[in-house]
């Protein structure tokens, strides 16, 4: 077309884009390190399934329609990327074609057919997206001018390309191809028109122009397409559409194995960390680059807030605002962060020289305190760490580790945390349980039940980890006793630690109190390793999660089995027999730390299905999309004074499903749901029971 103009556009367009990207990447590099380049194969697999495959967009039943819409636009873009290269080539070489994609190969024909269909499909999807935003207005969507502008640009890209080709077709077919335009005409595969119905349609729409007019339309559409594309490219990094560029790498670099970045094991003995406030995230620069990339990638789709138990119950935590605020703060402080990182690199290890550098570094502290000013305290402490947000996030943003790291800063450094936690922390410190009940009463529940202590029976095959709730809470003690009854019925060789057991430290860790957590973990691991414990049965998913995933960081390696899983095996192996006579309708509430954190969904269901002849009635929100009871992340020990209560919201859902029995698999859920039922005056009609209690009832 015009090599000079094309070169000018490319130089300007790509130049500005490269500059923006350099700034963005430079900023990420100024943040803390994160190791995300191992296990390339697993990472590629994630990228193919989650990003390219759009798993979380098309995979969720509730969001399938809009998910398919997005996926089709995305896939359409992928297809059109190749086409774009041809167009840029056309700017320099008349009739430019990519090797293998020209008219001599069937591949070329297949590609133009695919491109033709996808352009039509994307265009329809864009119209649908406009309709959705303007008319349907789903509440989770953040309706901004940016969204409309981008949809508009996508529409222009499709239309301009279709009209460019349409005009070309018209010139070839109706005006004898005056400009010697290139078009596919291979005798073996036929003419190009046969393969591209959408383009032919577009050509028909503009068939009224004269030959010159048609040539002008073609040229105009060509340049509109190129200019829009370059504008679009430059617009992306400025807002939420940065995800078009960052999603693929973000998914590629996501955490592996554990569902999110594990809480960092902090070195609390190092005196300097206390002086320099380097524990947890107290300042922007303490985020790591992957957390920064998460912020770049947030699409503001609002799926996170829609499933968030705190947002739904009117708490101030709104995850996409949380991300957006942090991102804005990151950009606002970009220069300082980069200068700071540069200086930090010059630290020598020599105290005297470093003192001067540290003085200079201190100047680059952001004006606003990260927590308290940028992010409100109530926002930070609302989170129950349930991970519903992370489970639905199409671009795998990890909100929870960031929140916990910020809580660490507050708890360890600032001493700013909900003061109700003090009682629980004090109880932990003195008596190894959040209730603060005398540690020597830990095994009182077992009196008269003939349960052996590890101290007396160290060769026991299984350790039954009772947990604080199972030991001290009157209600949960019944669950422990039911479980003991089952284990005894199956002749399982097990023992408990008795007064040697302490809280695993789960809630302390998730409330940011790494010190208290490490105190608990160190003592527990010493005891467990002292008995050479290999297999642990736990009825509390929080204990299970901590024992299974947190303790290995400190040298505790055990096979930890949830009691529902264990009971399921006992039934399958015929070691216990149960009656299928549970009366009434039965439903099951998935605990977050069992389901989303440990992917145990089937075992509890399998057990419950053996108890009830009517089978299990699923709640509307179940499995990976289960709704938190409100007690995770230390929230069990905090007041819930803002908005409505999460447990009541969940209980209402159960009441709505007309359940007679609600089965749970977590002591916190048990307390919260039972309380919720009381609040709704439904506790007489609806029984809330742990799986173990139901099984013990039905033992044959």
């Amino acid at each position: 077309m015009s090599p000079l103009f094309m070169t000018l556009l490319l130089v300007v367009g790509l130049g500005i884009f490269a500059r923006t990207m350099y700034q963005r990447i430079h900023l990420l590099m100024a943040l803390e390190p994160a190791d995300r380049f191992n296990r390339i194969k697993d990472r590629l697999k994630n990228m193919v399934i989650i990003a390219l495959g759009q798993k979380r967009l098309v995979g969720r039943k509730k969001e399938r329609a809009s998910g398919i819409m997005h996926a089709l636009i995305f896939w359409g873009f992928c297809v059109l990327l190749i086409r774009s290269i041809t167009l840029y080539g056309e700017g320099y070489v008349h009739g430019f074609q990519l090797p293998l994609l020209g008219e001599s190969s069937i591949l070329g024909y297949l590609y133009i057919a695919l491109k033709d269909i996808m352009e039509g499909v994307v265009l329809i999807m864009v119209i649908w997206a406009f309709y959705r935003r303007l008319v349907v207005k789903p509440p989770r969507l953040h309706n901004t001018w940016e969204a409309y502008l981008v949809l508009g640009m996508i529409g222009v890209l499709m239309i301009s390309d279709l009209l460019y080709d349409g005009a070309r077709f018209n010139l070839v077919a109706a005006y004898g191809n005056p400009g010697d335009l290139h078009y596919f005409n291979n005798p073996a595969f036929g003419q190009e028109f046969i393969w591209t119905p959408v383009t032919v349609l577009a050509g028909n729409v503009i068939s009224g122009f004269s030959a010159t007019g048609m040539e002008r339309v073609m040229g105009l559409m060509f340049w509109i397409h190129i200019i829009t594309q370059l504008t679009f490219l430059n617009f992306l990094p400025l807002g939420k559409h940065f995800h078009v560029i960052t999603s693929l790498p973000n998914v590629f670099l996501k955490s592996l194995d554990y569902p999110h970045d594990k809480i960092k094991l902090l070195d609390l003995e190092d005196e300097s960390v206390w002086e320099e406030e380097t524990l947890g995230v107290n300042h922007l620069y303490q985020l790591n680059w992957k957390q920064g990339l998460d912020l770049y990638t947030c699409t503001e789709c609002g799926r996170c807030k829609e499933v968030c138990p705190t947002y739904v119950t009117d708490k101030p935590l709104n995850l996409h605002d949380f991300n957006d605020t942090l991102k804005a703060e990151l950009y606002a402080n970009a220069d300082n962060l980069i200068l700071r990182a540069k200086l930090a690199k010059t630290l020598t290890g020599d105290a005297e020289a470093d003192a001067k550098i540290k003085e200079k570094i201190a100047v680059f502290k952001p004006e606003k305190a990260l927590v308290g000013e940028v992010i409100a305290l109530d926002t930070l402490w609302a989170c129950t760490t349930c991970r519903a947000c992370e489970q639905v996030c199409p671009v795998t943003i990890e909100h929870v580790p960031r929140i916990i790291a910020m809580r660490q800063g507050q708890t360890l450094m600032q001493g700013e945390y909900p003061q109700e936690l003090n009682t629980a922390f004090k109880g932990l410190e003195r008596n190894g349980n959040p209730w603060g009940i005398g540690y020597d009463k830990r095994a009182d529940w077992a009196e008269g039940l003939d349960v052996q202590l590890m101290a007396d029976h160290p060769e026991a095959e299984y350790l039954l980890w009772v947990g604080c709730a199972g030991s001290f809470d009157d209600r949960t003690q019944k669950v422990t006793k039911a479980l003991v009854k089952i284990l005894k019925a199956a002749n399982v060789d097990f023992a408990i630690l008795g007064t040697e057991e302490k809280c695993t430290g789960d809630f302390a860790r998730r409330a940011g109190n790494e010190m208290m957590y490490q105190m608990m973990a160190t003592e527990n691991i010493e005891v467990l390793n002292g008995y050479n414990v290999k297999k642990i049965i736990a009825a509390c998913p929080h204990c299970l999660n901590t024992l299974r995933h947190d303790y290995p960081q400190m040298g505790g390696h055990y096979e930890v089995i949830h009691h529902s899983d264990f009971i399921n095996r006992l039934i399958a192996d015929g070691r216990i027999r149960v009656k299928k006579s549970l009366a009434g309708t039965l439903t099951y509430h998935d605990p977050c730390y069992l389901g989303r954190y440990n992917e145990i969904y089937d075992a509890p269901r399998s057990v419950l299905n053996t108890l009830s002849s009517q089978g299990l009635n699923e709640l509307p929100r179940h499995g990976t999309e289960s709704f938190c009871c409100g007690a995770g992340g230390g929230r069990m020990w905090m007041e819930e004074t803002i908005g409505t209560r999460i447990n009541v919201e969940r209980s209402r859902e159960m009441v709505g499903e007309k359940a007679d029995t609600v089965a749970v698999g977590c002591p916190f859920c048990l307390t919260m749901i039972e309380d919720g039922m009381k609040e709704l005056n439904k506790d007489e009609e609806i029984r809330t029971r742990d799986i173990a209690e139901l099984v013990a009832e039905q033992l044959a």
Binding site: W274, E275, T411, Q414, G415, Q419, L421, R430, M515
Partner: protein, 260 residues
């Protein structure tokens, strides 16, 4: 303003206390800071924050009290003295009050804040006796302290008839109740930083006195024996015809419990 606060290390009463042959068994016991003293420390630290007071803490007894003193440091106390003397192991309240008197006299304090009593003995005497020995005012069971000027404070105390508000001339001794505040749990950073602070440990001789001087050799009271508290027995449950059950209960209350 210079404030002196006192802390005592007591047995954690959350635990089962085992008594054998008239003595408490040391097995499984753990020791904690007396809860009311924690309120006293918190009150002192709050005055430090609001009125730039200097706060000194004193802990009496025999054996190492470093752990609880560090915690008070982490809460915000400026200086700490520990009087560690084996002779004080079983000393009575007047003896402790005399030791406190010596500590008070060695410094130049305007206000002494103590817990209203200790969780182990529940005697509630040391603070009041200290004021008596020093011949300065004393208000017990205080739930609020307000500084009027350099030499006056206004306090609220829980009396039998309600809250009493008193103007107090300094120096004075205040013993506080748990209603006065919610003691802070020091930030972990404070705890770590407190590890470096120095504790001034001395025995009675170091304080310039002796067990005899403080009256320890002629105690006003002595512990003769410990006895376990009786465990509460479970109640009885009656079911059946209301009239019959009522008759039965009345009969038991009259003839067995002998309360009617």
């Amino acid at each position: 303003m210079k404030i002196l606060t006192t802390v005592k290390k007591v047995v954690d009463v959350e635990l089962n206390i085992h008594v054998e042959n008239g003595a408490i068994l040391d097995k499984g016991l753990q020791y904690v800071i007396n809860a009311w003293d924690e309120n006293a420390v918190e009150a002192a630290v709050q005055l430090k924050e609001s009125h730039k007071a200097d706060t000194t803490l004193v802990s009496l007894g025999s054996g190492d009290n470093t752990d609880i003193i560090r915690k008070c440091y982490a809460m915000g106390i400026d200086d700490a003295i520990q009087i560690d003397d084996p002779a004080l192991a079983n000393a009575d309240s007047p003896t402790f009050a005399r030791v406190l008197q010596k500590v008070y006299e060695a410094g130049d304090y305007d206000l002494v804040i103590t817990g209203k009593q200790a969780q182990d003995t529940d005697a509630g005497q040391a603070g009041i006796m200290l004021a008596e020995f020093l011949n300065i005012p004393c208000v017990s069971n205080v739930i609020k302290i307000e500084v009027t000027d350099d030499s006056h404070i206004q306090v609220s105390r829980l009396g039998d008839a309600g809250t009493e508000i008193l103007d107090v001339t300094l120096p004075a001794v205040i013993t506080v109740s748990d209603g006065i505040n919610e003691p802070r749990l020091p930030a972990m950073r404070g705890i770590m930083m407190a590890k470096k602070k120095k504790i001034n440990v001395m025995d009675l001789a170091g304080l310039g006195t002796s067990f005899e001087d403080v009256g320890g050799t002629a105690p006003a009271s002595e512990i003769v024996e410990f006895m376990p508290t009786e465990k509460r027995k479970g109640g009885q449950k009656f079911e059946g015809d209301p009239a019959e059950v009522t008759a039965k209960v009345v009969d038991l209350l009259v003839n067995e419990a002998k309360v009617l």
